[in-house]
């Protein structure tokens, strides 16, 4: 048994989709005149993995901080675990696990003490804190670094420790704000594996990301966020089905102005997107579209057929790419 969360949450007792743990209606966050979150409606159910996908500045962290009860709601309503953050902040926080965008590990303490002290903030008895710390070190694969200070750890280790720390109170909801941003691909996969395990054990995951592959990997359901608003909602697959085509034909050119080419391939697929270095043709059959392009005398430097992703959904919805 390497996952402590499973001791308190028995999967399957409550079928996914019944109980609403987080409910936001017209939720707003303003900083002075600036509107960071502009009236969003969200429902998160017990046991699901729910995502906010959006570029930098979309308002994801602002939303997560309101859900984490560390940032007051500016407008609309928010209920978490049936309670109001304004009145019951401490009681809600007692049942949440939070992985903030920026690590808040204590550089002056060892890895183990970071877990222990954090557990004490919840009022968990000392012996229980120590036991949980040992278990969570195992879970985060940090047992051999237990007595090291935090500073020399790699980015991926720090992130795993932060996640482990967030689990010390066996939370019902785990909030993860950009859990893998800044990590190398290998570290990301290790982290995803841990999050899968948590999800299987019944923890409700709420995460933000600006990586479409992360959203596709981890989320049962997600909202696409842009400029403080929700642009679309659904499962990764349904979003792609709704907002994109089955395949995408990418054409690369070694030229500055691609608009003449765009005009010439017009009509081959449903849509053409012009990016700085390539054209995207949204089509059902990429191979066929490739032949059609060739027949019209367009000669790209290279061409590639791929499946549609959430990146394409975002591009369709906002006219911009996720990662700039």
């Amino acid at each position: 048994m390497s996952n402590p969360a499973s001791t308190t949450h028995t999967p399957g007792v409550l079928p996914t989709g019944t109980e609403v743990l987080i409910e936001a209606v017209g939720l707003r966050k303003t900083f002075g005149d600036f509107v960071a979150v502009d009236g969003i409606d969200v429902q998160v159910h017990r046991g699901e993995a729910f995502g906010f996908l959006g570029p930098n500045g979309a308002g994801k962290s602002s939303t997560m901080r309101m859900i984490g009860c560390v940032s007051p709601v500016s407008g609309g309503s928010l209920r978490i675990l049936g309670m109001d953050p304004a009145l019951d902040g401490a009681r809600i926080r007692a049942r949440l696990g939070v992985v903030p965008q920026q690590d808040s590990l204590d550089g002056e303490l060892t890895v183990r003490d970071n877990l222990y002290v954090y557990g004490r903030y919840f009022g968990i008895p000392r012996a229980e804190c120590r036991r949980m710390a040992t278990e969570l070190l195992e879970f985060a694969n940090l047992t051999d670094r237990a007595d090291s200070l935090v500073d020399p750890l790699s980015g991926g280790m720090k992130r795993r420790l932060t996640i482990a720390r967030a689990l010390i109170n066996s939370p019902e909801i785990l909030l993860l704000d950009e859990p893998t941003t800044g990590l190398d691909p290998q570290a990301r996969h290790v982290l995803w594996d841990r999050l899968f395990r948590l999800k299987r054990s019944g923890v409700t995951l709420v995460l933000t990301t600006h990586y479409m592959d992360e959203a596709e990997q981890l989320c049962d359901r997600l909202v696409v966020m842009d400029k403080g608003r929700i642009a679309a909602e659904g499962s990764p697959r349904s979003l792609i089905e709704q907002w994109s085509t089955r395949e995408v034909l990418e054409l690369r050119f070694d030229e500055d102005d691609l608009s003449p080419h765009a005009r010439r391939v017009e009509g081959i697929g449903e849509r053409v997107e012009v990016l700085p270095d390539r054209l995207l043709l949204y089509v059902d059959d990429g191979e066929a579209a490739g032949r059609a392009v060739h027949e019209r005398g367009v000669r790209p430097l290279s061409s590639l057929v791929r499946r549609s992703t959430l990146e394409d959904v975002f591009l369709r919805l906002t006219g911009r790419s996720l990662v700039d």
């Binding site: 560390v70 590990l105 204590d106 903030y121």
Partner: protein
Amino acid sequence: MDPTLVAVRERPRPPLRVLEYFLVLLRRTFRGTIFTGFLSPLLYLVALGYGLGSLVDRGQGLDGVPYVQFIAPGILVATAMQIGVFDASYPVLGAIRWDRQYHAMLATPVGVRDVVTGHIAGITLRSLLSAVVFLVVAYALRAVPSWTGVLSLVAVLLVTVAYATPMFAIAARAQTDVSFTLVFRLGVIPMFLFSGTFFPVSQLPTAIQPIAYVIPLWHGSSLARDATLGTLSWGMDLLHVGYLLLWCVLGGWLATRTLRRRMVV
């Protein structure tokens, strides 16, 4: 159920949980504590008390009080001030900006008021610990002549909190640590040198004496000196206590308010 009832039953109370963190930290940084809290003040006591004292005591001295006995309480509370100011400066800004410990705390059931109370309590405990050791040595050196000297710990406690809380507020507003250098060099050092630690304020030019009277450290050293010399008097010393308490209360309020503004956005 009434949420306040729930809060009352929680054990330990949230400020104590934060305090516990600072105790864990203290274990790690104990060496530094030994020096700033104890060795350094002891060095001042011995070097100035005896070395410089040999010059001071040639004349009429300070109303017949040997110089070492005069400065012992002064150094005692001046150290409390230094610990109060220093521990509420870099560590507070660090817990907001660099290591972000406060962010971690506030993501748990711990609240802003608990953070302030717990941190100030941690600083005070460290200060008292140093003071007790210093006092024991000062007794052994006969630098404290009266048994009422134990009561000087009250002055240590009040001075620590009276300085730590306003400094906490400054640090909770600060974007960088540049202002700290100013506070130390233009605030702490002058107060250390001119508020009754090394010589009676009556030696200052008459025009600037009133400034000394508003400085908490002067009240602290006067109170501690009355305790160590066994010259406590109800009227004056209660006044000192009251004035220091005022700073503690106002400082505590300001610190909580400032931290809330900084963290809860």
